[in-house]
Subunit: 162 residues, 2 copies
């Protein structure tokens, strides 16, 4: 994992941590974007941004069935180039810091990215979408209907009516 | 991990998978909710739902600094009781199925939950929030300002102006 732990800006604070091993992830595919370097990545994706592809391992193809019913999806991915040990960060390199959880920086204890995207079309085990801001080759973790679009398919239960 | 792989409903399809080991997670704390069983959990959280607590490991306390500036947060957590091998699921138990990625079910290859919550207050290394729907004791993975509320702290870069 290419995590450069020496690149700490003035004021930033890091912690020493044991190896992460509380749970394990399985990459379900890769994300193809036009962003080949960090400088290419917009800070936040836009629904009118360029087309990107979510390319799934074919074992998951049937898991996309029914997804065309949604125009907005939530995409979850692994920010594989991010260090994970910063408690406070200095986004403007000026010595002023803010806590990691008060930022949407890719540098976090669990570098999980989430994006809301527009579904353009499905191609077998791949989806073409707009709205991503991540590097080409980013490992894909999950796809789900955006919560604003989604009405639960299961019947109501008592806890929903409280 | 209490994953019951025998509980497959008519029409659902599972796959055999190797052990997940593409990346590892570090739980940053636990979520305390009033929902003690799956039946207690609403299908989706509501911003006017009951108060819940995000209790962080104290090593991350300073990582919350500055978070009071946001009233809406994105919370990411690990659905630790979910099985991970279903490709299609039958939410209504009626033999009709839909792909896992067309559902917001907790059963997914990487059982990561995301919620948009209202920040009520901070208490040192804990946050009191409304809007969760997960079980009491759910492992916490990440907290970030909701993307709708958040303006990047770092300066603009060329990729933002494209």
């Amino acid at each position: 994992m290419p995590q450069d732990r020496t690149d700490t800006r003035p004021g930033e604070r890091q912690v020493d941590l044991d190896l992460a091993d509380d749970a394990a992830l399985r990459f379900i595919g890769r994300i193809r974007t036009p962003f080949l370097t960090r400088a290419d990545c917009p800070r936040q994706g836009r629904l009118d941004g360029p087309e990107c592809r979510l390319e799934l391992n074919p074992v998951w193809e049937a898991a996309l069935d029914g997804i065309e019913a949604y125009s907005r999806l939530e995409v979850i991915y692994w920010l594989h180039q991010s260090r994970r040990d910063l408690v406070t960060q200095s986004p403007r390199h000026d010595g002023r810091t803010v806590g990691t959880f008060a930022l949407r920086s890719p540098v976090r204890p669990n570098p999980i990215g989430t994006a809301r995207v527009h579904l353009v079309r499905r191609e077998r085990a791949a989806l073409v979408v707009r709205g991503l801001d991540c590097l080409d080759g980013t490992p894909l973790l999950d796809i789900k209907p955006d919560r604003c679009d989604f009405t639960p398919k299961a019947g109501e239960k008592a806890a929903d009516l409280a």
